[in-house]
């Protein structure tokens, strides 16, 4: 075990404790960004002018009528920008555009004394446009050759030879939908110029540093003139990684121009029509299997729907390519990726970040091909698992397959899979209008930012003279329990009770140059940095204690706030130790830093070791489908997940359950519909965009953590848990496919739309039901 992974005596990590804000949450006292608005005096409200055209050139923008509206203070337009008129990092997202790129694009913002005044002012702004041709769907964009960004290719082996040697070759197409984040807290920012002329922005952001950078470049300032703070978010899920910057910039620009605090808080309608979503993808594939069903070759083209700007589409696409293998060994591979440019909101990060999309392609392929091969899907999946020592198509060695196979076996035994499969067969044989099915999913998900440089983090830890400890780190809290874990890490590293440590809000003037809280690595990298700072402090305190206890510093242990020397009964209380250190002029503050070791990535050749390790999980789901309506319910779900040696078991189990639910939402309920003619988002409210609710929960939902699997080289032996479980929900989709197939003759291969809404399931089962012959090709 490395020093980073090893746990000391009686650690705070690993204890199942409530979320650090638990008491505040249940009392209504936990503050979110927009809750702070009432604390500022004379706050102005901002309201966007959204243009209802998918693509149009602005020929005139008349703001004077808005200024005539009582209570309107100012209209913000491109002419007001002292710096760069840009809200993105690729300089392709003007904050105030002169060309409307999607239906609902905001072209200017009105500031008012009240939200009502700003709203009426926005309605009074006159925008003349010349409509331009628009591309709404991915197939339209492909046909028009409308792409943006790079076109990565991942290859291994000789695909043509692989196909030549295959006993069965199949091909197909699959287009699947994106997903609206629907964080319950919409985008919010509150900006003011503080008493020191510093621009201070409170923002609901997963990436305070980038929000700071965008605000600074819009204002024409340097980063040290802008401070961004994020108390917490009411959900992020990736939707606040890149998207908050422009809203923060609007608030900051308004504050600078008016000298008053400015509040931006999107309505749900504005949020859904203006902010980016998960990428939908189009895929075209050809796959070869040997006679026993072992994958021989895969040739695929993935086209991500990037929307109107590049945003994070390039790294999302990279991650999609890097996850098309999921847990399966593909000897010969050629996968090409494209990013379509369409006139829709800019697709962005969403939990899994392309990984789910890549994996959905291979799981869909296996689900469709299993009946054609005449092999049970669970057998087909298991037969294709990597063996340790094999490498991924991008060249990273796979060496923890025993964890995945152990989890697989545990799900099979804990979930009583064989017996239930027999029960399902008996049930289906006697129920012509209702069918059940059970499917399993393995998940192997790479942990680290694909871009190596982002895998760094900082922390700042202070010990005050009274012994109390205050920690800061670069990560943000969005409900994933990062702050809870960081408190546990600090308490463990210092050897003090949890109550000794307090965590201060994430701010760019405390920890600079942070990476987004994303890619599931929040606790890995920030935990590494917090531990590093605490280790420095503890080392110093060991020296102080050593002189007091008459021992060598190496023999000092601090446990539960008491220092002792090995082999001695003499003790020194933490508070006394800290006081002594102060009087000896020992520094009681430390900055911590962490960089993930062992990573390298060549984006040109698409080869390297981009991931520190793989997260693993296995799930099984049983569904029941009604043959008259396609309506279904999930009868039971069993999950075994590998989170290493958990830093905080309640947090991790919550992430697994919640990730699964959110993944099932993406795959079965959440149906983003865009008007193909106008480009208008049709499902722009929760009344038409169906979110997972209590009603869709599995009737039985068992989640357990894989035991005794500490991860070497990661903070206290833990592993990431944020994104990985989302993909476990593939088993729900595959079970629905199999249930639909059960309405047809044995061996029916079913094509199932994604999301597999009851309507989609109905059409799939109806197609299966109407087949008289068994599919036989390949």
């Amino acid at each position: 075990m490395s020093a980073l992974s090893e746990r000391p005596e009686n650690p705070s990590v690993g204890v199942a404790i409530p979320h650090e804000s638990a008491s505040a949450h249940v009392s209504g006292l936990a503050k979110y960004t927009d809750d702070l608005a009432g604390r500022a005096q004379g706050t102005l409200h901002a309201y966007p002018v959204q243009v209802p055209h998918a693509h149009a050139r602005i020929t005139a923008l008349r703001t004077e009528p808005a200024l005539a509206v009582p209570g309107v203070v100012r209209v913000l337009t491109a002419a007001d920008v002292p710096g760069v008129n840009d809200s993105g990092i690729h300089h392709d997202e003007p904050l105030f555009p002169d060309e409307v790129m999607f239906y609902g694009h905001a072209v200017c913002w009105v500031l008012g004394e009240s939200l009502e005044a700003a709203r009426l002012g926005a309605a009074a702004v006159e925008v003349d446009v010349e409509p331009l041709p628009a591309l709404i769907t991915v197939p339209e964009a492909i046909a028009a050759g409308s792409f943006q960004g790079g076109r990565p290719v991942m290859t291994r082996g000789d695909v043509d030879a692989g196909f030549a040697a295959s006993a069965h070759v199949f091909e197909g197409e699959f287009e699947f939908a994106g997903q609206e984040h629907f964080y319950l807290e919409t985008h919010a920012a509150l900006a003011q110029v503080d008493e020191n002329d510093q621009i201070f922005v409170q923002s609901s952001t997963q990436h305070p540093t980038e929000t700071q950078e965008i605000v600074a470049h819009v204002l024409g300032l340097r980063s040290h003139e802008v401070t961004v703070q994020c108390l917490r978010m009411g959900g992020g899920f990736g939707g606040k990684e890149m998207q908050p910057h422009g809203f923060a910039a609007i608030a900051a620009l308004g504050a600078v121009l008016t000298g008053r605090p400015v509040r931006v808080r999107l309505s749900r309608l504005q949020d859904m029509t203006m902010s980016g979503k998960r990428h939908g993808f189009h895929s075209r594939w050809r796959v070869g299997f040997d006679a026993e069903g072992r994958l021989q070759a895969l040739d695929a083209t993935l086209t991500a729907d990037g929307g109107w700007s590049l945003d994070l589409s390039a790294p999302v696409l990279s991650r999609a390519l890097c996850h098309i293998d999921n847990a399966y060994y593909l000897p010969h591979v050629r996968v090409q990726g494209f990013i379509a440019r369409t006139n829709k909101t800019s697709s962005t990060a969403f939990r899994g970040f392309g990984g789910p999309q890549g994996m959905l392609v291979i799981e869909d392929i296996l689900g469709r091909c299993a009946p054609l091969l005449g092999i049970d899907p669970i057998t087909l999946q298991r037969r294709n698992f990597y063996a340790d020592g094999q490498t991924t198509p991008y060249g990273q060695p796979v060496n923890q397959m025993t964890r995945l196979t152990t989890a697989w076996d545990q799900v099979i035994s804990n979930g009583d899979i064989s017996a239930r499969q027999r029960e399902i067969a008996a049930f289906n044989a006697t129920h012509p209008h209702t069918k059940r099915a059970l499917a399993m999913t393995p998940v192997k998900f790479g942990i680290s930012f694909n871009l190596t440089a982002f895998n760094q983090a900082g922390a700042l830890v202070h010990i005050y003279k009274d012994g109390s400890v205050l920690i800061n780190h670069g990560g943000t809290e969005m409900g994933q329990g990062l702050h809870t874990k960081m408190l546990q890490v600090a308490a463990t590293a210092l050897g003090v009770p949890l109550s000794t440590v307090r965590l201060a809000p994430t701010r760019t003037d405390k920890v600079p140059n942070t990476s987004a809280t994303a890619a599931s690595v929040g606790s890995d990298i920030n935990g590494g940095a917090v531990k590093n700072a605490c280790d420095q402090l503890r080392q110093r305190l060991h020296e102080v204690a050593a002189t007091r206890l008459g021992a060598h510093a190496h023999d000092v242990r601090i446990v539960d706030g008491v220092a002792r020397a090995l082999g001695s009964n003499q003790t020194l209380e933490w508070n006394e130790l800290v006081k002594a250190a102060y009087w000896q002029r020992v520094q009681l503050s430390a900055a911590g830093f962490y960089r993930t070791e062992g990573l390298h990535w060549n984006a040109e050749t698409f080869q390297g070791t981009p991931f520190k390790y793989f997260g693993h999980g296995v799930a099984a789901a049983e569904v029941e489908v009604d043959g008259f309506t396609g309506a279904y319910r999930t009868r039971r779900v069993d999950i075994v997940h590998d989170v290493g040696d958990s830093l905080s078991p309640l947090v991790d189990i919550g992430q697994i359950e919640g990730g699964f639910v959110q993944g099932a939402g993406w795959l079965t309920l959440e149906d983003l519909r865009w008007d193909a003619k106008t480009g208008r988002l049709l499902t722009q409210t929760p009344s038409t965009y169906k979110l997972p609710s209590f009603s869709e929960m599995p009737e039985v939902f068992n989640v357990s953590l894989l035991a005794d699997v500490p991860e070497d080289g990661v903070v206290y032996g833990s592993k990431a848990s944020g994104e990985v479980p989302l993909m476990l929900a593939f088993c729900v989709r595959e079970a629905l496919r199999q249930a639909a197939a059960a309405f047809g003759p044995v061996g029916t291969s079913v094509e199932l739309a994604s999301p597999a809404t009851p309507e989609a399931v109905y059409w799939a089962l109806d197609t299966a039901r109407n087949r008289s012959d068994v599919a036989a090709y390949g």
């Binding site: 009392s27 809750d35 966007p48 964080y183 319950l184 409900g479 009344s687 609710s693 929960m697």
Partner: protein, 194 residues
Amino acid sequence: MAQGTPESDRSLTLTRRQFVGAVTTTAGLATTGGSASATEDGVPVSLTVNGKHHAVVVDARTSLLDLLREDLQLTGTHKGCDQGACGACTVLLDGRRINSCLTLAVMHDGAELTTIEGLAEGGELHPLQRAFIDTDAFQCGYCTAGQIMSGVGCIREGHCGSGTEIREWMSGNICRCGAYQNIVAAVQQAAKES
């Protein structure tokens, strides 16, 4: 020519939950506010929130939610969708749960409200608040106030006979983090204690 947000797109939708006096129109409201009368500045409303009396003058179109958040600075009640579909804004109105975004403040002159800030008594958490901590029934916390207020209503209404019944009667409250399993457990735990 385009003007502002396409407001016609806005849809106000009731959840499956039973609503108490919710309306989606502002017509004639100035006369519904009890004995108070409208002025140019707005309509006076007097209500008791968490045992404390408040007399304010508000625009007749002010939702109960905005009154709480913007006028009374009770920000513990959250705005998730502002159209009655997520339940984040649930409060107790004269003891019954209601989506505060879907009802107007002026309709409730003289009413007694309980919000999440007023649920604890004498510094002692309500059993459901404790149960939410015990069962880890939240992640980001944004829906929590609404879940708890709705859960209190659900328990009072006697809809906690089984997990299935709780799921049905709590179905108007969305948790995007997906903590449903633990929320059901919390409601079950508190229901047993009450």
